[in-house]
Homo-oligomer: 209 residues x 2
């Protein structure tokens, strides 16, 4: 779409906005014109919030979660169980697990999963630093909490091999029927796994208390 | 959706992004995490482009189109026909008409249409300044180019009444079958109008040259 803009400032804002995922030039123009219609303070606050975030947000030197400090609030909290580390793909997954309020251990953010198709090998991920953390000795259990996809399973297995000789328990998220899902619409592999790993019925309501 | 953020900077960027139209908190978080994954310069460029646009873009004192100067490039261009003014709803409509490359006159941006349902009366629109422009005497024709909606037609009629006593030709966009549309799917009112305002067939290919 060729567009003649009355303003170079507008044009460059549209260009930058259209770099966002899922935002084409048409949407970018709509967003820019919306910002122009609002009070000046609204647009300036948006711009400054983006700059401050990009400049100020760092990554925790321990778990690689985003942090404004050298070590993130989770890693430095005395209330967290430092003997358990949950391995996740991304910063967003940390938020998702935190929202469950079921986990009081630490995290380790890999920054992705092994995916030869996308050119992502183990070296681009924070796997070596995970091995170092486990070697440091404080950790008793590593929970593999990656996606139940081919790439996630491959990464799980790679980490399992890397940690193999170290004295640490390696677990993974339970596979089973999603809460709220009907059996009819659950795939056979998941059903098979959920049969093999069936749990005591009494435990299900004990755990929920 | 309650979310625990590891960073206040991230949280405030998400809050500001979610003020954009069509962007909820989930999308805002996705955009913010995308910005964090990119090079620092990309995020800073986006933030600065938004701030510079919001601070730098003004409105033309003549036609109320966006402009970086007191009078916009269209109004100040010696190549434009200053005897014709096309009345449009918004800045975006100016871009749309400019893209047709069929118009060499000036514009007048109303900033909306009369809409009692949304509390927009004539006083919130640039109608008085349009009357002033016409009174100044240089203008021979006012083209009403508002949407063919109830609100657009109401606004057309209001402007027609305001300009009624002034020596100026008032025209409106032709109503008819959209180019590329099938007769079967064209509404009856449009078909009726297109019959009444039928044009010489020979003119259609003369105009296109």
């Amino acid at each position: 779409m060729e567009q003649e803009f009355a303003s170079i400032l507008l044009e460059s804002a549209v260009t930058e906005l259209s770099r966002l995922p899922g935002v084409g030039r048409k949407t970018a123009l709509r967003l820019a014109l919306h910002i122009l219609r609002q009070d000046e303070s609204v647009g300036v606050a948006l711009g400054e919030a983006i700059i401050n975030m990009r400049r100020g947000v760092k990554y925790c030197s321990e778990c690689h979660n985003i942090s404004e400090t050298e070590v993130c609030p989770i890693c430095s909290s005395p209330a967290r169980d430092k003997s358990t580390v949950c391995v996740v793909e991304s910063v967003k997954d940390v938020m998702i697990f935190e929202n469950t309020r079921q986990y009081r251990g630490l995290y380790h953010v890999l920054g992705g999963v092994i995916s030869p198709m996308d050119g992502i090998g183990p070296d681009q991920l924070q796997i070596a630093s995970l091995v170092e953390r486990v070697k440091s000795g404080e950790i008793n259990e590593v929970i593999l909490a990656l996606s139940a996809t081919m790439e996630g399973e491959t990464t799980n297995f790679y980490i399992y091999r890397q940690l193999g000789t170290l004295p640490v328990k390696i677990t993974q998220l339970a596979r089973g029927v999603s809460v709220g899902n009907e059996i009819e619409y659950t795939d056979e592999i998941t059903l098979g796994r959920s049969l093999i790993n069936r749990t005591l019925f009494a435990d299900s309501f004990n755990n929920n208390r």
